[in-house]
């Protein structure tokens, strides 16, 4: 099976994020592989282990994103490709999906594309579905379990996590799948993987390399990034001699505030 997993490099979720003059910064916090993408990489590797084939990690980002791709290599992906082009600096989801779809076409003969359900920075959660739409492939998003996969028969069956429980869907390959946490437990990179990854040659593709003569104009712009207003909450500590007293006071206050 020829599998592509799309990944993104993001700040660590524990980072203190701030903005000044429209530029976001995360201090000394390291940049990491988007946590949702770890599940996607792990799932790709498990499918490769079960059905043989190869996994390519693909990312659109600055050169620093090569670190995230190296981690994907260290976990076991066979190759990693970075798409980097100054023309893509203001790319919005519309542009990103076009670029990724073109890259997947260039890789060629891909059976399955995996995404994490979203990225912890912009968190639009639509890249996977949009890429699928561009490729005209079925999209199976929010997948909590791939229950069956038949590369020869070209079928795939999944359980999707919807608000109301789970939806069981069967689809055909090639397909785009986005995964949620809990689908698997991502592996640590092995030391052998780390050694291979640090020595790996990573191609960097420009928009010309993937056959896009013209980068489409983004539809969205983001004129402002700002910190939310700090809501100063005075916490009223409820006290009492016994738990019963405390509970009574708290219950009364909640009823007074009309939240119950």
């Amino acid at each position: 099976m020829n599998i592509v997993v799309c990944v993104k490099q993001t700040p660590d979720t524990a980072a203190t994020v701030s903005v000044e003059d429209g530029v976001v910064s995360w201090g000394d916090s390291p940049l990491v592989l988007n946590p949702w993408d770890e599940y996607a990489v792990e799932e790709a590797l498990r499918i490769r282990e079960a059905h043989s084939g190869q996994v390519t990690a693909l990312s659109l980002g600055p050169e620093a994103a090569m670190e995230a791709l190296k981690l994907a290599l260290a976990m076991g992906c066979e190759q990693a490709i970075l798409i980097n082009d100054p023309a893509l600096e203001d790319a919005d989801p519309l542009v990103v999906s076009k670029v990724l779809a073109a890259a997947i076409k260039k890789i060629g003969e891909v059976d399955l594309v995996l995404f994490g359900r979203g990225s912890v920075d912009n968190d639009t959660g639509i890249t996977g579905p949009q890429v699928a739409r561009r490729l005209n492939w079925p999209v199976l998003s929010l997948v909590a379990d791939i229950t069956s996969l038949d590369p020869e028969g070209r079928t795939i069956a999944v359980e999707r996590m919807i608000d109301e429980g789970r939806q069981l869907v069967r689809g055909s390959l090639p397909a785009v799948v986005s995964v949620v946490k809990g689908i698997n437990e991502p592996r640590y990179p092995s030391f052998m993987g780390i050694r291979k990854a640090s020595r790996a040659e990573m191609p960097i593709w420009s928009t010309a390399d993937i056959g896009l003569d013209e980068v489409p104009t983004p539809a969205m712009t983001w004129p402002e990034i700002f910190a939310p207003l700090k809501v100063e909450t005075e916490c009223e500590m409820i006290e009492g001699e016994t738990p019963e007293e405390v509970a009574a006071r708290l219950a009364d206050r909640l009823i007074e505030e009309k939240v119950i």
Binding site: E67, L71, A74, Y188, P189, F191, I194, R195, S198
Partner: protein
């Protein structure tokens, strides 16, 4: 001079950090209170290749260098010292000693399973009556045909009750002209008849680990298990300590970092006199000291690791790294408790455990007093190291990573 870590080093650091954070940190306090070692730690460290990180691939290891070993120890001890103690005695005292002094046959028989974590190893030199004074050890090894018969007691041995084999130094030449020429070192199968082991509880720190004693009563050990020649035991033991001591230095550096992080986090949250205590200068002074000590300790152990990679004798540098980092880690942990105020005194926070853990390292693996004497000997020109019959192999990534 390039002070940066390679991408490989950074990935190694992150992998071990993630392991320790995810699989050990959540329950470490429980095991510390129980004074017992969590049963999943040794198997997991074995399975993930951490126990064999710095051995050549052809000996079952992961082919990484000595700097990587140091980084691994720093990350492990930042969560709890007991994890790094495993590296010190299994990878350091046992594994690296066999890598340096073992025959090819011994490397196959012992180093390969140690590297894979199929066998757990430890180092047994200290006795109830002999710690710093290795030459005064009383355990004996009497040659009997193609075996030696070992008798004696070893004490304060980490992983005594968990290990399968121990690197044991005993006196084999009772009337040697120089006591230091009378010792020999053996790999002892701890499942042999005559071996009994037991745990020691009631330690101030390193409680989530395993420290114990090994009693040898007419234990028969084949001559093939002798590491080095008869009479070379002192040199072998000193080499072992150069390896173990390095891991202690790197680990203590991680402890300084953990104390620093805990102090910074707490100081930014806790308020007194209308502002976060991070704004109070006396608190700032403690934190600045920790930050500087971390940098110094780190530079010292990384240099020692670099010398090990080059195959250059590094007893002096390793000694300096160990003495500095361990003393600084105890100070850092103690100050971290102070920063936390009353909460620092409670086991709800980690800092009291850091301090209790830190204290041991000033005593073991060569007390800090011994380190000072070693360094004085070097500084005064009283000590000149002659080449050893068996030197630690130089790190060569191509050779070490060949299957």
């Amino acid at each position: 001079m390039d002070f940066s870590l390679t991408a490989e080093h950074e990935m190694v650091q992150k992998m071990v950090r993630d392991f320790a954070q995810r699989e050990v940190a959540p329950t470490i306090k429980v095991w510390d209170r129980k004074q017992d070692m969590a049963p999943h730690i040794l198997p997991r460290m074995g399975k993930l290749g951490i126990l064999g990180v710095c051995f050549p691939v052809r000996y079952g290891g992961q082919g990484m260098d000595f700097v990587s070993l140091g980084l691994v120890c720093e990350e492990l001890e930042a969560v709890d010292t007991t994890l790094r103690v495993v590296m010190s005695v299994h990878t350091g005292l046992a594994g690296l000693t066999i890598l340096q002094w073992g025959t090819n046959e011994q490397k196959k028989r012992f180093l390969e399973p140690l590297a894979r974590g199929d066998l757990i190893g430890c180092g047994a030199f200290t006795e109830p009556g002999a710690g710093s004074d290795i030459s005064a050890i009383q355990a004996t090894g009497k040659r009997d045909g193609d075996q030696y018969i070992l008798n004696g007691e070893k004490m304060w041995i980490s992983l005594a009750t968990k290990a399968d084999i121990a690197i044991v130094t005993v006196r084999t030449i009772p009337d040697a002209a120089k006591p230091s020429r009378s010792l020999s070192t053996f790999v002892v199968d701890l499942h042999s008849p005559g071996v009994t082991t037991g745990d020691i509880h009631g330690k101030l720190g390193v409680r989530a680990g395993s420290t114990g004693w090994i009693s040898l009563q007419d234990v028969r050990v084949p001559v093939e298990n002798r590491i080095g020649e008869q009479g070379e035991g002192f040199k072998v033991t000193m080499s072992a300590l150069d390896s173990g001591r390095y891991t202690v230095a790197a680990g203590a550096t991680g402890l300084i970092r953990a104390s620093l992080k805990a102090s910074v986090d707490y100081a930014n949250e806790r308020r007194a006199f209308g502002e976060p205590i991070a704004k109070h200068q006396l608190i700032q002074a403690k934190i600045a000291r920790m930050a500087q000590d971390y940098e110094i300790a780190r530079l010292l152990y990384l240099k020692a690791g670099w010398l090990k990679n080059q195959g250059v004798r590094n007893t002096r540098e390793t000694s300096m790294a160990k003495r500095f980092a361990t003393a600084a880690s105890f100070t850092a942990a103690s100050e971290a408790i102070q920063v936390h105020g009353a909460y620092g005194y409670s086991d709800e926070y980690d800092v009291e455990r850091f301090m209790r853990n830190a204290r041991g390292a000033l005593i073991y693996e060569g007390s800090n007093e011994i380190q000072i004497l070693i360094q004085a000997d070097y500084a005064l020109g009283h000590r000149r190291d002659k080449p050893l019959r068996c030197e630690m192999p130089v790190y060569d990534p191509i050779d070490w990573q060949e299957a």
